[in-house]
């Protein structure tokens, strides 16, 4: 159990972590998410007392880290896989860390086997690949068989097999009743690994809730409908029918329609009644990545601007069907990675669903999601 209360860290004028309070409970994998520079690493460093908080405090099982009777037996941390001396052999490195807390030497060989580095035990760590370094870091964290585990970007540089292994390891450690806090930028990975999420942006807490709850709160699902191309009027007919039935429709560049506000069976029935053949009717369920993007876009510290290449572009106006009376076109986004648009008045409360689907659709008429402004 990790408990932070009003944790704040300032570096001069810059506030890296701002009044952060949260609890990480045992038995779960807790994901720690946030954009670059949002204060994740600083928070983890404060948990293990490498940095002193400017104000507030953080305790582990009710005690400050420095007052734990045997820190390594209570807390294991992988904060930086490169925090080793490259000239030392892997086994000697682990042994020197184990000896600090009187951990027996045979435990070193155990953890080397757990992370699969038996054969590299005699190698100097400067020859290690990024993935091997991560494994060594995980071995260091596991040395004391601790009750609380912190991992900062543990899957960085691991191969697919290694990523799967880390995912299973995290889940197993949590199922044994340990407290596991993992930070990562790989949203697909976190969706599979974490049961609970703590999301921060610009050092402030944005969300502290279950993963499924988080996705449900912060993104919108939709149905993708594609009328048969052979029927020229099919799309128009279908669009009109769906709009009449109360659905909101956005047109995708390739001709598919994105429908919100109607259930899939309803859409099918309407299409049948209108006599339109469908080539695609697919549910699009929101992913953690979408939910995360939607929540954090207002607190992203480092944003890239688009390369305009102004003189190279030949703007191609999107055809607007007659039923789209508000003269709006769906933003051009890749089919598989559609991010839900910023909520109306972005920068306020970014994780609230719009009260009705219409709000969402009109806000998404905005050409660029990075410069949100309410068009209504």
């Amino acid at each position: 159990m990790i408990e932070a209360v009003g944790l704040t860290k300032r570096y001069g004028a810059k506030t890296a972590v701002d009044q952060l309070s949260f609890q990480v409970k045992p038995g779960h994998v807790t994901g720690f998410l946030g954009p670059n520079g949002s204060g994740k690493s600083t928070t983890m460093r404060m948990i293990v007392a490498l940095d002193r908080p400017t104000s507030g405090h953080v305790t582990i099982n009710g005690r400050p880290f420095r007052e734990l009777p045997n820190a390594q037996r209570h807390v294991g941390a992988l904060l930086d896989a490169k925090a080793v001396h490259g000239g030392r052999r892997a086994r000697a490195h682990l042994l020197s860390i184990a000896q600090l807390s009187g951990i027996p030497e045979k435990r070193v060989d155990e953890v080397l086997a757990v992370v699969g580095l038996q054969d590299a035990a005699r190698q100097r760590t400067k020859g290690f690949s990024l993935g091997m370094g991560q494994r060594l870091g995980i071995a260091t964290a596991l040395l004391g068989d601790p009750q609380v585990l912190l991992f900062d970007e543990p899957v960085n540089g691991l191969d697919p097999e290694g990523i799967l292994w880390v995912r299973n390891l995290m889940r197993r450690l949590a199922s044994e009743g340990r407290t596991v806090l993992v930070s990562s930028h790989l949203m697909s990975e976190m969706a599979l690994t974490a049961d609970h999420l703590i999301v921060i942006g610009r050092g402030r807490l944005l969300a502290d809730m279950g993963t499924q709850e988080f996705i449900a709160h912060n993104s919108a699902g939709f149905a993708r409908v594609r009328a048969a191309d052979t029927d020229r009027d099919g799309r128009e007919t279908l669009g009109t029918a769906l709009t009449k039935a109360g659905g909101r429709i956005l047109q995708e560049p390739d001709g598919a329609l994105r429908v919100t506000g109607l259930e899939l069976p309803q859409i099918s029935d309407l299409a049948h009644r209108a006599g339109v053949r469908l080539w695609e009717l697919s549910p699009h369920r929101a992913s953690l990545e979408e939910a995360y993007m939607r929540m954090t876009q207002s607190s992203v510290e480092y944003t890239s601007t688009e390369d305009p290449r102004a003189e190279l572009w030949e703007p191609e106006p999107l055809a607007l069907p007659a039923w789209e009376d508000e003269a709006e076109a769906a933003p051009e986004v890749p089919r598989t990675g559609f991010y839900a648009p910023p909520p109306p008045g972005a920068g306020g409360q970014p994780f609230l669903m719009p009260s009705n689907p219409g709000e969402l659709a009109s806000a998404s008429g905005n050409p660029s999601p990075n410069t949100p402004e309410d068009t209504r």
């Binding site: 408990e3 009710g62 009777p69 045997n70 820190a71 490169k82 001396h85 000697a92 807390s101």
Partner: protein
């Protein structure tokens, strides 16, 4: 679960089958020893210390005759090597801590052992013991060789005090290394700390000479010329500074000076390492 839980063990939480001893200084000493002997750089530094002191010392012994030792101590040949070898001790002292800062290992260390003073104490002890033993053995190999090879009647009487002086000289070099470790802990940067220590060891004779040419600061210049590292080492190894600087300071005043400087730096390192974000 209430937010104000203060018990160490949560119901249903994981408890490890491993024993949980309370870590003490002995654990940290074992760890530091492993760190020292598992690196090529530290072993090379120690090896070069032995090689320089013994090699240069034996070469000097080979080039002298029995009658030369009527004026100098049997341990004096070791001094010439040690004036260079002290640089190896300084480098080792700095590297003991700055290599951890340079590589980031210090974060792993302090996460595993948040009682940083325990780790720092172990570093001081392991380093100073290693440096003292290595220096002393090298110096006495040279001294004993000289005594055996050049110990004829022409070398005249030799008091036991000269061996004690050599031992103090080894202690002096060790203290220089401890000072280097403290500077390394304060500066955290290998090159910076080594440069600082080299300046401290080699520049005072030059600066003292320059200052004593200028009337206003001449007393200060003379003071620096009397109290500096090479002069102290030469005196401890039985080479008296001949010159117009007046009566030479005693062995103990040299030792007390280095003890004060080193002690202040060590105290500073404890304060800073305990509080600093790493």
């Amino acid at each position: 679960m209430t937010p104000t839980t203060t018990t160490a063990e949560q119901p249903g939480s994981y408890s490890s089958p491993l024993a949980t001893p309370r870590p003490h200084l002995g654990h940290a000493l074992a760890s530091e020893w492993t760190k020292l002997v598992s690196l090529r750089s530290t072993l090379w530094t120690l090896g070069s210390l032995v090689l320089i002191v013994v090699g240069v010392g034996l070469a000097v012994v080979a080039q002298t005759g029995d009658e030369d030792f009527a004026q100098i101590n049997f341990t004096t040949p070791a001094l010439i090597g040690l004036l260079v070898g002290q640089l190896a001790v300084i480098v080792l002292g700095v590297l003991t801590i700055s290599s951890e800062h340079g590589t980031g290992l210090v974060r792993t260390t302090f996460t595993a052992a948040p009682d940083r003073h325990r780790v720092l104490t172990a570093k001081y002890l392991v380093f100073s013991m290693t440096a003292f033993v290595t220096t002393t053995l090298s110096v006495f190999v040279v001294g004993v060789s000289a005594a055996v090879v050049r110990g004829g009647s022409a070398s005249g009487p030799h008091a036991a005090g000269e061996w004690f002086g050599a031992l103090l000289g080894c202690g002096y070099v060790t203290l220089l290394g401890v000072l280097a470790l403290a500077i390394g802990a304060l500066v955290r940067h290998s090159a910076g700390a080594i440069a600082l220590m080299l300046g401290l060891v080699t520049l005072p004779p030059v600066i003292g000479g320059m200052l004593s040419m200028w009337v206003a600061v001449e007393p200060l210049g003379r003071l620096i010329l009397k109290y500096n590292v090479p002069v102290a080492m030469m005196q401890l190894f039985g080479l008296q500074e001949g010159g117009d600087l007046g009566p030479a300071p005693s062995n103990f005043s040299h030792l007390i000076l280095i003890l004060l400087v080193t002690g202040a730096a060590v105290a500073g390192s404890y304060v800073v390492v305990g509080r600093r974000d790493v």
